[in-house]
């Protein structure tokens, strides 16, 4: 679920960071730049793990900042396809069920067989031997990762919405998560914890 990635980058340390220890200043800068960001085809960055190598700081002409080349390792959230994860149900809609990290989604075709959507309660129900098993919100759920998708959200490739022209840039862009997982609960042992008595 979590792994390490080795990354090389040039880190800029502003003069205000000079009073810190060098390793501390680098750590802070790296965390500020990477934490909670998605790297394309790498995964979601959590925090810096350790520094493998750091060069001398360089100061460029006309700029007071110190530039350091750093090799470091980053803790990345990236479940492999087929991995079993646990989480909580955030929401249900006729398309499927949404999981705990915002961008985990279980489409209805990956639910247990004979699942139906209860429009009144707005939840999915698994019909098992005439028992109605409700998938209530906030329930603990176990699921398998089926596929992952990265979406480049950099401004240049972002598709514009037709006919909408507001100065607010975020309103113009399609709301697409940069990294999302499609999961399934189709199989023995998958689904709510309570279904399997654990």
């Amino acid at each position: 679920m979590f792994n390490l990635a080795e990354i090389k980058d040039t880190i800029k340390i502003e003069p205000s960071g000079f009073r810190k220890k060098k390793s501390q200043a680098i750590t802070d800068e790296i965390n500020r730049k990477y934490a909670n960001k998605v790297l394309q085809d790498i995964g979601l960055c959590i925090a810096m793990h350790d520094i493998l190598y750091a060069s001398e700081g360089f100061i460029h002409h006309g700029d007071g900042c110190s530039y350091v080349t750093v090799h470091f390792r980053m803790v990345i959230f990236r479940p492999f396809v087929g991995e079993i994860l646990t989480g909580k149900i955030r929401s249900c809609n006729p398309d499927g069920v949404r999981g705990f990290f915002d961008d985990i989604f279980i489409p209805y075709s990956y639910l247990q067989e004979n699942s139906e959507f209860n429009a009144q309660e707005q939840v999915w129900v698994w019909m098992y031997d005439e028992n109605e098993m409700f998938m209530d919100l906030d329930e603990d759920i176990r699921f398998r990762v089926e596929s992952e998708m990265f979406f480049d959200t950099s401004p240049s490739v972002r598709p514009k919405k037709e006919g909408v022209d507001t100065p607010d840039l975020s309103a113009n862009s399609a709301k697409q998560a940069p990294y999302s997982l499609t999961c399934s609960i189709h199989g023995d042992g998958l689904g709510l914890f309570s279904w399997w008595g654990t």
Binding site: F2, A5, C45, I46, V75, D138, G189
Partner: protein, 148 residues
């Protein structure tokens, strides 16, 4: 930025939790001296991950327990990812164990299944009644936001 190695190593939930706790403790020690401020994005992701991990089985694990589990499982030929998932999910029933181990029926017998569950329960002791009683109130707010 340059990516040197994508999968340098895999981490167990416990290691991630230990790292975040370490980092936080270190930062708090420094904060007394008033020399560091924490980036917003780091705080967010730290909070979310810690909230998630604190309810998962890794919250009560220790390096000794993990080492003991690894030695105990060395007699079975498990893949690294299977061992990792056993560690992260701590299966308690056969159905859970079969889920994380691929093609269990072909590779192992049902006796070894019982044995594995026994090893897990022994190496990673946990007070399960306490676990069930835990509730977290912070989640509800986010559910509302998501629904809206």
């Amino acid at each position: 930025m340059e990516i040197l190695k994508v999968d340098a190593a895999m981490l167990s939930n416990y290691e991630v939790m230990a790292l975040l706790n370490d980092q936080k403790a270190q930062r708090q020690a420094n904060e007394v001296a008033g020399t560091r401020e924490v980036a917003e994005n780091l705080r967010t992701v730290e909070f979310e991950v810690q909230k998630y991990l604190s309810t998962s089985p890794c919250a009560t694990q220790s390096p000794e327990q993990i080492a003991a589990l690894k030695t105990a499982f060395s007699k079975y030929e498990l893949m690294k990812v299977e061992l990792l998932q056993i560690l992260n999910l701590r299966p308690k029933s056969p159905v859970e164990l079969l889920l994380v181990i691929e093609e269990f029926e072909e590779r192992f017998t049902m006796e070894s299944c019982d044995d594995m569950l026994r090893i897990i329960a022994e190496c990673l002791p946990r007070d399960d009644d306490e676990e069930m009683g835990e509730g977290d109130g912070g989640e509800e707010q986010q559910v509302d936001e998501d629904a809206a």
